[in-house]
Amino acid sequence: VFPGVRQAQWLTKTKLVEGLPPAVQGIVDNQALGLQELEERAKHVVSHARLWDTTEVAPRREKYCPVLFENLLHICRLMSGKYPSLSKRMLARKFRISATWERESILLQVRGLSGILMNSMTPIPPVASKEEILATKEHVLETFYPIAPTIDLQEVNVYRELNDTGQCFRDGYPYSHPHTLFFLESANVRTDRFRPEQLRAKMLMFAFGNALAKAKALHGNDPKVLEQPIVVQSIGTDGQLFQFMVFQLNTTDLVSNDGVKNLVWIDSDQNLYERAQCVPEVKKRVVKKPAGIFGFQPDTFKKFLALYLHGTV
């Protein structure tokens, strides 16, 4: 109906900050990591996913979106040659999350197959300082009077409040901290895919759900302000546009509208490349556009890598 992120913000009691947090931005700008050499590889990887991966002329989105994602993740993983602590990560595919919370006497629940989750053994340190967290007390959540905030949500009878990521993983799992969630919009037909705004809202809801489940597993079910905020990152893409998000859960006291709020940093609509030409465009026997990738933006890849390295570098 109207931008989904605003509704998601109200539902999760979150304050939005545009752009990536300074900690992640610091990793992007850090020259010592040698991100320049990786640009060449990133370009090859994009060409592979979009141009070379199939016996047909051009691969379809259902094929190239996951392939591009896997290739980018492969480059990121190869950095663990330089940073051995990166190997303390594990990917979980077909991951199911379920989390429940109350907002002003409305019971909300997030459930579903949320894509691919990367877990790590160590949690990400909090991104915002204590002052910033306290400053969110002043922030007023925007309401949508007269529209109820639960518009467009499915109302179901919940018989069991399923609450933990322990529901997805058993106790004693060594990689117990959710690190990053990945969402791939890879449907071929455009109407089956989420629009960027809806994708960001989905990312926010699932990141919140994971963080909340982890908080309840660590600190119990009582609503309170967390001493150690929990940070969960999220990346969503449709093969070309990337949405980056860092969510910090500061409080599980979600019933009231005041007090400390949660924080989310969103960097939206980052293009990795402008256009992928599979067949050269020829007009009147003259090649107008040769085959290849045009408008490659290395910054988007650097942000992807920075979010991957966040927490260990």
């Binding site: 590889r41 090859h44 990887v45 060409s47 592979h48 141009l51 070379w52 991966d53 199939t54 016996t55 996951p66 392939v67 896997e70 290739n71 492969h74 993983r77 190869l78 663990s80 040659g81 330089k82 051995p84 990166l86 190997s87 594990m90 990917l91 979980a92 595919r93 077909k94 991951f95 199911r96 529901q167 997805c168 993983f169 058993r170 004693g172 799992y173 060594p174 990689y175």
Partner: protein, 453 residues
């Protein structure tokens, strides 16, 4: 008119009033008559060979590799579809005869390219070294446990931290089989439920952690469920029925393979033995391929390594194959065909690796009339989730067509092991009976690289 044409040819550039000395060759030096060759369109053996020569010249003269591949597979006729993962009995003998491959049991000795290869059964340096860490691991894990065996040859014996790799492997296994709550597997899709994701996790984490030691891995490209295709001719047969009845045709084969995982690299793996080595015999089978059973179909002739020719990672490093549910061990044991279990692994290794290495060679411009000048080496691991079998293939020749094979003494070589279990059982969050030998062999495969790196 022929007479007028001959008249003109008889007098090329000769003037009526020329003063050249008679007996001189004519000024242009061209032959007096056109060359006398067989016709192109007649229904005769000479015409057929002339058409074949013209086709060969066309392919030789192709400007780019894509054009060569297009011309090579242009003519579509019914061909045998060779499946690497097959339940056919003794399929590995048949596949070896189709691809002219010699099977050598055991792994090739590392760093021994100059020495004559030892075709011993499974006795390699790695296997000799592995029992030491295997015995010490349950006890206090010490770094010396994985040190190089004394008196090792000059070939690189890597100093790997086996405990860390073992913990990575166990974590991957436990996550997929124990910790992550999944729904029940779909009917006959057990392999997609647990062993598939486990293999993906294992290979990606191992490759990432070993990329510090192997710069080739750091520049590699990992494909999930890629497509590998190869089309070739081998032998001759007579067409049985149809409008082409009675003609002698080459026997055409096509392999369409889908490995579970594949690593492609920009530089070629080093050769294991010299190009002209002869390590054994190729089985000769007198029956038609359709007796295997093998069936014919006509469709596009594809040659593909996993990505197109423009990709810089055009050489293959390692493939990982997952055996499907219909070929699991319990089925063979139930039908009292225990000896066919190893045949499944071997036929998968030979067929897939032949297709991959031959397609890599075609991407470099070689084909059956322009044979390879350097051997192409690739590796493969065939597994059903618990049992692992390792294969290393060296392609020495692509010339398998009936004419080219007459003067071709070279054979392709495949080294392969029997399948060994990686672990015994997973219980209560513990992996029991982990086998370090298999893990070490996998690590050696991943660390394989050219000498100069």
């Amino acid at each position: 008119m022929a007479a007028l044409g001959a008249w003109r040819l008889l007098r090329p550039g000769r003037r009526w009033f020329s003063e050249t000395v008679p007996g001189d060759p004519s000024p242009s030096g061209s032959p007096l008559y056109p060359p006398v060759v067989a016709s192109i369109t007649a229904k005769s053996k000479a015409a057929k060979s002339r058409r074949l020569q013209r086709f060969n010249q066309r392919v030789h003269a192709a400007a780019t590799v894509e054009e060569k591949l297009r011309l090579y597979g242009k003519l579509q006729r019914p061909k045998y579809m060779v499946y690497p993962q097959t339940f056919a009995l003794n399929a590995d003998r048949w596949y070896r005869s189709f691809t002219r491959t010699v099977l050598v049991p055991g792994m090739p000795p590392r760093g021994a390219a100059a020495k004559p290869p030892v075709a011993a059964a499974g006795a390699t340096r790695e296997a000799g070294r592995a029992p030491e860490p295997g015995a010490e691991a349950p006890a206090a894990a010490e770094a010396p446990g994985d040190r190089v065996a004394p008196g090792a040859a000059a070939g690189a014996a890597p100093n790997v931290d086996i405990d860390e790799l073992r913990s990575l492997a166990c974590d991957a296994l436990l996550q997929e089989s124990f910790y992550q709550n999944k729904k029940r597997p779909f009917l006959y899709r057990d392999q997609d439920h647990t062993p598939g994701p486990f293999l993906t996790q294992l290979v990606s984490t191992l490759a990432a952690s070993l990329s510090g030691r192997n710069p080739l891995l750091a520049a590699s490209s990992l494909d999930l469920s890629p497509e590998v295709n190869y089309y070739w001719h081998h032998g001759e047969e007579v067409v049985l029925h149809g409008h082409r009845k009675g003609r002698v045709d080459p026997v055409r084969f096509q392999i369409d393979d889908n490995p579970h995982l594949q690593i492609r690299v920009p530089k070629q793996l080093p050769e294991v033995v010299p190009l002209e080595s002869d390590l054994g015999d190729v089985p000769v089978i007198d029956h038609k391929p359709s007796k295997l059973p093998l069936f014919k179909k006509q469709y596009e002739n594809k040659v593909f390594i996993g990505s197109k020719v423009a990709d810089p990672c055009c050489y293959g490093h390692t493939q990982f194959h997952l055996l499907p549910d219909r070929l699991k061990r319990e089925r063979f044991i139930r039908e009292r065909l225990e000896d066919q279990i190893e045949v499944v692994y071997r036929s998968n290794g030979i067929a897939s690796l032949f297709a991959w290495t031959a397609a890599q060679a075609m991407y470099q411009g070689f084909w059956s009339e322009a044979d390879v000048t350097r051997p192409f080496v690739s590796q493969a691991v065939v597994t059903d989730g618990k049992y692992f079998a390792f294969f290393c293939y060296q392609l020495n020749t692509l010339a398998l067509t009936a004419e080219a094979i007459k003067n071709n003494p070279r054979k392709n070589i495949c080294w392969g092991t029997d399948s060994k279990p990686l672990y015994d059982v997973v219980e209560d969050g513990n992996v029991k009976g982990f086998n370090d030998e298999v893990l070490l062999q996998l690590v050696h495969f991943l660390l394989n690289r050219p000498k100069e790196l």
